[in-house]
């Protein structure tokens, strides 16, 4: 309770829309929606939505020190007021005269010795009982428990003695309390314990908290502490009590009353009010003097009681209900969640709801869930109906790609970009590069030229570096006898590079015709024309452009370009040359643009072609390999490689190959996109020794696997692991689980493969009569029978034929899905808790309908112990 004349605020315990402000007088307010017809014109706005109407004022009781609202429904609006001289007066507000509390209103309870009344508390059960905590007096008790229904004291006070104590006039004065507690000390604060309404918790001046039981007042439990102000019981946790002293709040557990379970961080200013939120578990609000913030402590996740060694988890935060004004007092709303009304020293009131902290969680499948207060919200990614919908999140893309077996096409490697959706030029370039690299490696393998192999995956950058024996030729324009002055360079490495660029297929001669055909097929007319032109076949280029113009949906402008092209002249100062070199810049299509750039450039200076970033890297590189000399080429390639690495452009893999450089490039790609999937699949093809051991690569692979697990794509993850172990045998995990024989303790699978020649003897232990389905049902080491399946009661074992070591490679190839499943059905499974088990297939079907162990008399809830057993993979096999 506040002291002095700063206003305090009290909610009605039963009317959720009424509260009382008390300073020098009591004012009853009703709170309602702002602007509604119910709220009158004089209503005070409390917030944007609510306003308060003054219903009644009571100024009958001067020198108020504390107020307590009668806790029962009837009589409503009965208040006990503690005064500075220790008297407790019952009063009422806004009640009609014939109300039920008529005979109670005005009743006074007077202590023997006058001193300040510090605190009041109604007993929550025996609502006739009112406890008053007073300052100390040398000869009197500090806690008086009054019975409000008692009649005035029978002992008549001698008339001459009355003169000092004022107006003792009527029968409304009670001087004999029901109980007296706490001699020679002041009571600063008290509360009834909700767990036992006969018990009272007192906080006294002499630095102690004491619990009195009214059934035996001479006994008490007490503890010395400084925190003796404002004791208050957590309404949600009746053994938890908060008390404070100056800036410090102590939290007590009444079951361990020796010391506070913890104290909250000390505030620089003394506290004036501490209150538990009645609508929210474990939320404590505190207010310090002259402050405009209310500090909240969330103890929801603080275990009670907790051991001494753990740090309590308390979330602390502050709220500022009204921006500038200092808060004099506040009161939680009794029922509306987290709502409070605060009042400033000049009686400006504010209705305020403490916003609950939002906890937020991403699901592994892009859905977002958040909780606020008692509400739970879910938010999922918009499917993106319109074509203009924002690009999908990379996680969604990866998920879709995983479902379409992206990365798993190891034969036609380029097809992976189609599996990825086929709309990403970088992925397209990447998978074509990998495709060409693989193709070349395979060719080389056939020719047993092992020295070249290492070069392939190391990319064009390394290939051109080792270039030697370059020859220079000057060819005619094909179909014309005019000599060109364009030098063209040839070497083994350069033609290898052209192969990797996809311009030519293998072979010594440079024939781009197949490539042109495929481009024509795909309708890439401009690109095909450019490639033809770079191969000095201007006629073919014109032909391609004509074809393109006449094709379905063809661009008629291509004819115009063809015409322009046909006017080519190598005359240096011709009008054609002049016009082309300036007008080409206005061409929108990059390939058309570079065609004219090529034709109008001086030999050896092809920057307009080489640095046209809209042109695919592979075409630029191929061009460079044809027309740059040995000095220019490595410089250009280095520069381009650097650019690609910086940008994380996957087209650059063509240059870097799957080398350390490639990992660097991929790193910046992953940094840019987060696409660990592509990174994993791509780098798996790199050399195991160098690239795969790179911690970055391992990190991408592990993250991708975790991602698949998080999506519950367990089958996909298994497929990935298989794929990975094929490319990187070192990643194959060693067997970690062995089934050992109960008798000899040896691993049964180990022995099985170690001694295949004993196979003949096993059939005699087979329980199954069929000779074709012979099984290993005994330990191969000691020949004792293996355990029985709890369901079919047969000895467990696996068919001999499927034992490892019997040519499994051939066998696996023709195993159908059914056969694989049948094999799995024979596997050993057992519960780690009760150790009962049996054939995997039997157990699976048993636990589909049961949660308890199939062994009779075993009550183990095996299925419930399996936390992942109930999860369903979200991908199908």
């Amino acid at each position: 309770m506040s002291s002095g004349y700063k206003p305090d605020i009290l909610w009605s315990p039963h009317h959720a829309d009424r509260y009382v402000i008390c300073d020098t007088e009591l004012s009853l307010y009703r709170i309602g929606p702002a602007g509604s017809p119910e709220t009158k014109a004089g209503a005070l706005p409390l917030s944007e939505q609510t306003a308060a109407t003054l219903l009644a004022i009571n100024s009958d009781t001067p020198y108020m020190k504390c107020v307590a609202w009668y806790p029962k429904h009837e009589p409503e609006c009965l208040l006990a007021v503690g005064q500075a001289n220790g008297r407790v007066v019952l009063t009422s507000l806004g009640q009609s005269h014939n109300s039920k509390c008529k005979e109670l209103v005005g009743k006074e309870f007077v202590p023997k010795h006058a001193r300040q009344c510090n605190t009041l508390a109604w007993n929550p059960v025996d609502s006739n009982w009112l406890a008053a905590g007073l300052d100390k007096h040398r000869a009197d008790f500090s806690v008086l428990i009054w019975d409000i229904s008692s009649k005035f004291s029978p002992e008549a006070v001698p008339a001459e003695k009355v003169r000092l104590s004022g107006d003792v006039d009527s029968g409304l004065v009670v001087t004999k309390p029901l109980y007296e507690l706490g001699q020679n000390d002041a009571c600063l604060s008290l509360c009834w314990l909700p767990r036992d309404h006969q018990k009272l918790l007192l906080a006294g001046m002499h630095r102690n908290l004491a619990i009195f039981d009214l059934r035996n007042t001479s006994q008490k439990t007490f503890v010395n502490t400084k925190a003796i102000q404002g004791v208050t019981v957590d309404p949600h946790f009746q053994d938890r009590v908060a008390s404070f002293f100056e800036g410090q709040v102590a939290i007590w557990d009444l079951r361990k009353f020796e010391k506070p379970v913890f104290t909250l961080t000390e505030q620089p200013k003394p506290l004036t009010k501490v209150a538990w939120c009645p609508t929210r578990m474990g939320l404590l609000a505190t207010l310090t003097r002259d402050s405009n913030i209310i500090r909240l402590y969330d103890m929801q996740h603080t275990p009670m009681p907790f051991g001494d060694e753990v740090e309590p988890t308390i979330i602390e935060r502050s709220v500022q209900p009204c921006s500038e004004s200092i808060i004099s007092s506040f009161a939680w709303h009794p029922s509306a969640q987290n709502r409070m009304v605060v009042v400033s020293p000049n009686r400006v009131m504010n209705d305020f709801t403490v916003f609950e902290r939002i906890s937020l969680a991403w699901s592994s499948t892009t859905a977002l869930m958040w909780a606020c207060g008692r509400h739970l919200y879910e938010c999922t990614e918009d499917a993106g109906q319109g074509a203009a919908a924002a690009e999908k999140d990379i996680a969604t893309k990866m998920r879709e790609r995983a479902q379409s077996h992206y990365g798993h096409d190891t034969v036609q490697v380029w097809r992976n970009h189609v599996l990825a959706g086929g709309d990403d030029p970088q992925l397209r370039s990447l998978w074509y590069t990998l495709h060409f690299m693989k193709q070349y490696t395979e060719n080389v393998e056939q020719k047993q030229q092992s020295n070249k192999q290492s070069l392939i995956y190391s990319g064009i950058k390394n290939i051109v570096k080792s270039s030697s024996g370059t020859t220079e030729t000057r060819r005619c324009w094909s179909g014309s006898d005019r000599q060109t002055d364009v030098p063209r360079y040839h070497s083994e490495e350069r033609s290898l590079a052209l192969q990797l660029c996809g311009w030519i297929s293998r072979g010594p001669d440079i024939d781009v015709e197949p490539f042109l055909k495929s481009l024509e097929q795909e309708g890439e007319w401009e690109r095909a024309a450019a490639v033809a032109l770079f191969n000095l076949d201007i006629r073919r280029a014109i032909q391609i452009l004509n074809k393109g113009a006449s094709a379905e949906k063809g661009d008629l402008n291509l004819n115009v370009v063809a015409m322009a092209l046909s006017g080519y002249t190598d005359e240096k100062n011709s009008l054609w040359r002049e016009m082309c070199s300036s007008l080409r810049l206005q061409l929108k299509k990059p390939y058309l643009c570079i065609m004219f750039a090529f034709l109008t450039s001086e030999p050896g200076t092809y920057d307009a072609v080489l640095y046209e970033s809209r042109v695919a890297v592979r075409d630029r590189v191929a061009f460079a390999c044809m027309f740059l000399n040995d000095a220019q080429l490595p410089r250009y390639i280095d520069k381009l490689t650097y650019e690609m690495k910086e940008a994380g452009n996957l087209e650059g893999i063509l240059l870097t190959g799957l080398t350390k450089d490639g990992v660097d490039l991929m790193e910046s790609y992953v940094d840019r996109t987060g696409d660990v999937q592509t990174a994993s699949f791509c780098m798996l093809k790199g050399s195991p020794g160098e690239v795969l051991k790179d911690p970055r690569v391992q990190c991408w692979i592990e993250n991708y696997r975790n991602l698949l697990d998080a999506w519950r794509f367990w089958h996909k993850r298994a497929e990935f692991d298989i794929h990975r172990s094929k490319l990187d045998p070192s990643s194959k995990p060693l067997p970690q689980v062995f089934v050992s024989c109960n008798f000899c303790g040896k691993s049964i699978s180990y022995s099985c493969s170690a001694i295949p020649h004993q196979g003949r003897g096993f059939s005699q232990y087979g329980v199954s009569g069929s000779p074709t389905k012979s099984k290993v049902t005994s330990c191969p080491g000691c020949r004792k029978p293996l355990p029985r399946c709890a369901l079919c009661l047969m000895n467990m074992g696996t068919p001999v034929s499927s034992c490892p070591g019997t040519g499994k490679a051939d066998e696996k190839a023709d195993l159908t899905r059914d056969k694989k499943l049948a094999q799995f059905n024979n596997w050993f499974t057992w519960c780690h808790n009760c150790r009962h088990g049996g054939h995997a297939g039997h157990m699976l079907s048993w636990f589909r309908d049961h949660s308890e162990c199939p062994v009779s008399a075993c009550t183990c809830k095996c299925m419930q112990l399996d936390t992942t057993g109930n999860l369903v993979p979200s991908d199908s096999v």
């Binding site: 002291s3 002095g4 020198y63 500075a84 001289n85 220790g86 007077v110 202590p111 023997k112 010795h113 006058a114 001193r115 300040q116 300052d135 100390k136 007096h137 040398r138 000869a139 009197d140 006070v157 001459e160 003695k161 009355v162 003169r163 000092l164 104590s165 004022g166 003792v168 001087t175 507690l181 706490g182 001699q183 020679n184 000390d185 002041a186 002499h206 630095r207 004491a210 007042t217 001479s218 006994q219 008490k220 010395n224 400084k226």
Partner: protein
């Protein structure tokens, strides 16, 4: 029962009536301007002889030394008995009587000089700081002793048993029995909400500092049967007032706290000559017989004399008792 050694280091001083005007400024500051001073323990008692001021070191800084200010040389520590709430309430007596046997008598036996200060709220027993070990020694059996330091109560145990033999000062065969004076005025002991102090400031200043100025009415005829006695104390935020009914009439009734029975007290002043601070057993002399007859009492020591307040209705028996004590010695 608990005995608390409070966290105040006190000085006992006296201001002569003639020198009062030099000290009105610090006194008013200490009484009314609580937020301007860090003094937590302040008591001012006016007697016909002088003003006795007991205050802590923070307050003592305010008093400028002069020929009008007499200071007792030692530092005093206040003791306070806390009954811990569950003391047997068989005895209805209050105040000094309650602790006569348990505290005052043992201290007198150990020749510890005490300075008593009763207030509306409680009784303080002031002992010299140098006597503390003897005090602890002699009271440790009866009480749980706590020393309050910076807001914490620290249990105190007697250092060693051998110290117990070390008596305080010389052996005095038997205390002299001092003459007593029983004036006619009736006294009341009251309290006040410190927040309402400003409301009675002018009255209080008038009563405290202008009591010697001529006043109309009955109080003028100084028949020596009444003596001037007024005590104001403010200790840890609690105000206590002791005044006679004449002074009480000047205060508004609704602000002062008193007991509902409106009890009145008579005074017994002990000592013909100023008592000094070294003699011990004076309080015990009075409190012992009062305790024997279960009579409540307040006891206020001042610089020169000791004052006991006993209930009006018991004054006759007290007078007889004191006379009997005289005769026997």
């Amino acid at each position: 029962m608990d005995l608390h050694i409070l966290d105040h280091r006190l000085r006992v001083t006296s201001i002569s009536k003639t020198g009062l005007e030099q000290y009105t400024h610090p006194l008013i500051k200490l009484i009314f301007l609580r937020n301007r001073t860090r003094c937590k323990f302040f008591s001012l008692t006016e007697t016909p002889e002088n003003y006795t001021v007991v205050l802590d070191e923070e307050g003592f800084k305010e008093l400028q030394p002069s020929e009008h200010l007499q200071v007792e040389g030692s530092t005093w520590l206040p003791l306070n008995v806390v009954s811990n709430g569950n003391a047997s309430s068989s005895s209805q007596s209050v105040g000094v009587t309650k602790i006569a046997k348990s505290v005052i008598a043992p201290l007198a036996e150990q020749h510890v000089s005490v300075f008593m200060l009763s207030t509306y709220q409680t009784d303080f027993i002031l002992v010299r700081e140098k006597d503390l070990s003897v005090v602890v020694e002699s009271l440790v059996e009866e009480f749980n002793i706590f020393r309050e330091e910076g807001g914490e109560s620290v249990p105190v145990h007697s250092q060693d048993a051998c110290n117990g033999l070390q008596r305080n000062g010389r052996e005095v065969p038997h205390a002299t029995v001092h003459p007593v004076l029983i004036p006619e005025n009736q006294f009341c002991v009251m309290s006040l909400d410190p927040d309402t102090l400003p409301a009675i400031a002018t009255i209080l200043i008038d009563v405290l500092f202008y009591s010697n100025s001529p006043r109309e009415g009955a109080s003028i005829d100084q028949d020596m049967e009444c003596i001037k006695f007024f005590s104001f104390s403010m200790i840890d935020g609690y105000v206590s007032l002791v005044m006679d009914t004449e002074a009480q009439k000047q205060f508004p009734t609704d602000l002062l706290f008193t007991s509902s029975s409106g009890e009145l007290w008579r005074m017994v002043r002990i000592g013909g000559q100023p008592l000094g601070f070294d003699e011990c057993g004076i309080v015990a002399q009075i409190s012992q017989p009062l305790a024997d007859s279960d009579i409540s009492a307040y006891y206020i020591s001042t610089f020169s004399f000791d004052h006991a307040l006993v209930p009006e209705e018991d004054i006759v028996s007290v007078t007889e008792m004191l006379q009997a004590q005289r005769m026997s010695s």
